[in-house]
Structures are given as structure tokens and as C-alpha cells.
């Protein structure tokens, strides 16, 4: 169960990131023909993020303590002290941004340049934070592996 949840939250996180990129690129080329797709994709980003958050949150609360102990005894304690601590709180901002995305998508993205810029800003922040969170996940995972190898 532990391994399944670790993999699931990483894959779901990647899905949020990919969907964020998809939405961003679609919005760069917004027209009447793709605006409905942008709204649907925004909703997919939000739903994917909530599912990811639920899975990752459960894993973090239920299972992470063992990994944390391994990381702190290993050669990469910063994988927890900096990367995990930062990630677990920055991801809350990502949750809010993805929740806001479908709301921002309801505006006139074709005719209103300001609304389009706002949407692009939010989608861009989702992608940037998504990359940072995925990268942090890799470092945390490596910290746990190194800790386990040297046990």
C-alpha cells in the first residue's frame, strides 16, 4: 500500500503539471474554438490536484514518519529539513491556485485581454510551482533511499 500511494501521488502530481502546461498553451492560443476546451481542462487541473492532494496528504500523515527518520539519519537531512518542509506548505498554495483556475476560466478569455493575462498568470504559477514540487519530491525520495542504503 505504501509503495502504491507513493507512486500514485507522484504520477497524479505529474498529471496536474502536464494538464497545467496544456491549459497554459491552449490559453496562449485562445479563440472561440478552444475556449470550451480551456474551461474543461481547467476543471481537470483542479480535480486532479484535489485527488493528488488527498492521496499525498494521506500518505504524508500516515506513512511519512518512517521516511523522515531515514532521511534525518542519512547523508541528505536537508531533503526533509528544507525540501519536505517547504513542499508540504507550498503545495497548499498550489491547491488554491488550481481551485481558482476554473473560476478565472469563466471570464471572456477571447475578448478580454486582462482576463486572459490573469488566466495565463495563474496557469503559469501552477506550472512553475508544479515543477518545483515534483523536483522536491525527487530529492526527498533520494534522501530516503540514501538513508536506507546507509542504515
Amino acid at each position: 500500500m505504501f509503495e502504491v500511494m507513493v507512486m500514485m501521488h507522484a504520477v497524479l502530481g505529474l498529471l496536474v503539471l502536464l494538464a497545467g502546461i496544456w491549459v497554459f498553451v491552449e490559453a496562449l492560443n485562445v479563440s472561440q474554438s478552444n475556449v470550451a476546451r480551456i474551461r474543461l481542462a481547467s476543471l481537470i487541473v483542479a480535480v486532479a490536484m484535489w485527488v493528488t492532494f488527498a492521496v499525498a496528504g494521506y500518505w504524508y500523515v500516515a506513512y511519512y514518519a518512517a521516511d523522515k527518520a531515514l532521511i534525518l539519519k542519512g547523508p541528505w537531512p536537508f531533503a526533509h529539513n528544507f525540501f519536505m518542509e517547504t513542499k508540504e506548505h507550498v503545495v497548499l498554495m498550489l491547491l488554491l491556485l488550481t481551485t481558482f483556475l476554473p473560476i478565472a476560466a469563466q471570464n471572456d478569455l477571447v475578448g478580454n485581454k486582462g482576463a486572459r493575462s490573469l488566466f495565463l498568470c495563474v496557469a503559469g504559477l501552477i506550472v512553475l510551482i508544479g515543477v518545483a514540487v515534483e523536483g522536491s519530491g525527487g530529492i526527498i525520495s533520494m534522501g530516503a533511499k540514501l538513508g536506507a542504503a546507509l542504515r
Binding site: 517547504t86 508540504e88 488554491l96 473560476i103 471570464n107 478580454n112
Partner: protein, 100 residues
């Protein structure tokens, strides 16, 4: 003339910005007050992070419905959201960088 932003876009956009800063400050406050704030947050739900999440969501939703009368241009709202998200991220990362 361009249509103005929807009222919920403005209110939840501002709610997002305020909650991002609030959440970052809550990180600093709880980490610096282990025996009081952090302990209280742990007691409330069994894990400080769950409590933190619930508080953030309550603030976000409450402000989203309270700020529906506020008017702001899309450009300004974009700047506020970017500024608050970057500032929130820097507060959190900076805090743990210094604490590490």
C-alpha cells in the same frame, strides 16, 4: 468595451492572494511557537498540517464570499496574485533555509 471580471474571479483571486500570505505567516508562527500554536494545531486534528490545511481552506472560502463587492482591474489582480504567491513561497522557503 471589455467585460469586467466576474465578481467571484475578483473575490476568490484576492482570497487566494491573502490566503497565500496568511498561510506562509502561519508556517513561521507555528514553527516558532512549538509549545503553543504548533501543539494546539496538532491537538485540533491529530496533525498540524491537517489543521493548517483546514484553516487555509476556511480563510480562502470565507474571503472568497466576503470580498464580492471589491472591484479591481485584471492587471492589478494578476500583479497581486503573482506578488502574494511569490512572497508566500519565499517566506516559507526562506524560513526553512534559515532554520536548516
Amino acid at each position: 468595451m471589455e467585460k469586467p471580471l466576474g465578481k467571484y474571479t475578483v473575490s476568490f483571486g484576492l482570497a487566494l492572494a491573502i490566503t497565500a500570505i496568511f498561510s506562509a505567516l502561519l508556517v513561521v508562527i507555528k514553527e516558532l511557537s512549538e509549545n503553543t500554536v504548533l501543539a494546539l494545531m496538532k491537538r485540533a486534528t491529530g496533525h498540524h498540517w491537517i489543521t493548517h490545511t483546514i484553516i487555509d481552506l476556511i480563510v480562502f472560502v470565507a474571503l472568497g464570499f466576503l470580498l464580492t463587492k471589491v472591484q479591481i482591474s485584471p492587471e492589478r489582480l494578476s500583479r497581486v496574485i503573482i506578488g502574494a504567491t511569490v512572497a508566500g513561497g519565499l517566506i516559507i522557503a526562506g524560513f526553512y533555509l534559515l532554520a536548516d
